[in-house]
Symmetry: C2
Subunit: 401 residues, 2 copies
């Protein structure tokens, strides 16, 4: 019998208990041992809840109980999740978490503490919710030199962009509706400004490159400036706009970025719509594989945490090696990254646009007061210089090949 404690009885925490109880037989079979929830830590009481008798308010009850060998951290945020996780690991208890903020900020330290204490710090649920991606990277894509990761990593923004495209509605309109439906937070900044996707691509990049990518180093741009006009142009070229978190290994340099991108119908991410997430990984011999599913939600996220609990139960007293060194990975500045750009400029003067940006492909979405086009391949730096010289740029969205 392996005893586990759940820290935080909110959406994910209660989901973890639900998945274990609903699929108890399967969970025990796959773990090779019976798994039981002994404690639920929360400041609140839950009168009437079937597991109200498991609720404790003091983490010491859990940390001091030698019977507890696995802790599920579903509190979110940095503190007290960080301190509790660290103390659990130092006591030899494995920790399974969905907390991307904490993993992005203190992941390598917690992984190392787990290693030193013969236990595990696992975080499958921290990226892509219910999509198994961390374990495939760690144990399936093992022979590969990963050249690129490209992900739709945030369900809220993908829902908003999908709605804008299908209904021709404005960003602010769709955001308001998403907030009413509970798909977007009342304070939507973390999602719409790309901060959430940024933490996730930092975690994925650290895992595939084996060194720490600081999320603060990643250039991040949100979707607040995307307009209905942008989508009108996209229709002309069978393309759409997605918020992508991406990293690349090119000519010995590492690049990472979060930004809206134009992607065409031939890209596997093109038809990933609504709240779905997907992660496209390119290996040097494997080519492209993609992992698709629900990026969030109570039970999908909880299922991912429970898959980690099962892995920990199979490895009590043993560390599962994770290739993520605390050493910092130096990212190249984005100014050297090369690509095409979708640009809208004021006025209808095509010759002026070509004078400023060189050879371009014009798009006609029927607007007389502006001109839209896609440039040839150039570096971010070249684009920036041309745009500043032109002086009439309304908007720019990068093009993903």
């Amino acid at each position: 019998m392996v005893k586990t404690a759940v820290l935080g009885y909110g959406t994910v925490g209660s989901g973890i208990v639900e998945v274990i109880k609903t699929n108890q037989e399967m969970v025990n079979k796959k773990a090779g041992v019976d798994i039981d929830v002994k404690y639920i830590l929360d400041l609140r009481d839950f009168p009437g809840d079937p597991y109200e008798n498991l609720v404790v308010h003091d983490v010491e009850a859990i940390l001091n109980d030698e019977e507890v060998s696995i802790v599920c951290e579903a509190m979110g945020g940095i503190e007290p999740a960080y301190t509790f996780s660290k103390r659990a690991l130092m006591a030899g208890k494995s920790v399974c978490t969905s907390n991307k903020e904490l993993v992005a900020k203190h992941g390598p330290e917690l992984i190392q503490i787990a290693r030193e204490n013969n236990c595990n710090y696992l975080f499958e649920a921290s990226v892509g919710g219910g999509i198994p991606i961390i374990r495939p990277i760690n144990s399936s894509l093992t022979p590969e030199r990963i050249e690129a990761i490209t992900g739709i990593l945030n369900g809220t923004t993908n829902y908003i962009l999908t709605k804008m495209e299908r209904e021709g509605s404005d960003f602010s309109e769709v955001l308001k509706e998403a907030q009413e439906k509970g798909y977007a937070e009342r304070n939507p900044e973390a999602d719409v400004e790309g901060y959430d996707a940024c933490r996730k691509i930092a975690i994925l990049s650290s895992l595939v490159y084996g060194k720490t990518v600081n999320f603060e180093d990643i250039y991040t741009e949100g979707i607040t400036k995307i307009s209905t006009r942008d989508f009108a142009y996209m229709k002309q070229i069978d393309s759409t706009i997605k918020l992508l978190g991406m990293s690349r290994y090119v000519d010995g340099k590492y690049f990472a970025m979060v930004a809206p991108f134009v992607i065409g119908r031939d890209n596997a991410l093109y038809s990933v719509n609504d709240v779905f997430n997907a992660i496209l990984v390119k290996g040097n011999t494997l080519g492209e594989t993609m992992y698709y599913g629900k990026g969030a939600g109570k039970l999908p996220t909880a299922s991912a945490v429970v898959s980690d609990v099962i892995d920990c139960a199979k490895h009590v007293g043993k560390n599962i090696f994770c290739f993520w060194d605390p050493e910092k990975l130096q990212l190249a500045g984005i100014e050297d990254a090369k690509r095409r750009f979708f640009v809208r400029v004021e006025g209808s003067d095509k010759a002026k646009a070509e004078a400023a940006f060189g050879k371009v492909s014009f798009l006609d979405a029927g607007f007389s007061d502006e001109t839209g086009f896609i440039t040839e391949v150039m570096s971010e730096k070249e684009y920036k210089e041309k745009a500043e010289a032109a002086g009439n740029v309304i908007s720019m969205i990068r093009v993903e090949e």
Copy 2:
């Protein structure tokens, strides 16, 4: 140092050597030990090949060499692959294979022999080529009761169907072109009749349900009867036709089938085109996840075999538990499976069609000599009775929801 031998130096076998040599540093790092190819077994010689000195013609050299702890079987077919694999496992050597035929026929026996001899029989490459799917099923979807697997499991047929849809060409025309390009075998039966997909869905179903699904028990229908007219109807309803291997767990019964299906734009498999494969798995708490990538090809398939080699190297002397019992899983007959059907009947008499099939949704693809429609949900048995009574059915394709 872990020594491995490669049986069969054809496409996959030479790919395995290439992946190990190209990514040697990564392979060693992930395995935690240096991995080296000691032998290549083939009847032929390979003068001029960089590894010609590793080639042996007698398997005894490999089976009797205690230094060899991992064998990659890339011979294909049942014999002598079966005998060689069995003998290697009985000698305590792990076997990694891409041989779906052998896994579908003797998988549970070989898994058991591996267990008894503290080694492993791994077969990631046997389904979905380079798509990691076996390991995610075994170690990521662990808490889930899997309710459905639906896969595009054969690249050749997917290429043919994609071409037929895009170019409006006939099956036989596209097949001929695919054969010329080397995308289809000169004897294409295993692909176009669905036999290859059948073995793959048998393997996947056995793994998720934990008992043996005999491929001979699976109802299998190929794509040879799909016509350009079928695709003309599909255009009217934003749908397409894909060859699906599927299994379902419904009300305590297990169903499995390989057949062409109508799928709509909202299905994640809709945009899986050309030679790509994808597998959609539905768990009771996780919901749907999808795994996408190249289903075949030298290096993707070889990379999957090498991921198994790395796993074996990390577990020398230890069996990784695999939930696939030799006990036979009883499949329910397909006559009870319920769904809608896309039907084409001779003549333009809509009233007659409704009299025969009940309420239907008519599709208009502009043919005056026939009538196309989609039925309401009914069992296969009911459909069959109605079709026999009608007596004028040209073709039927099942509709996947």
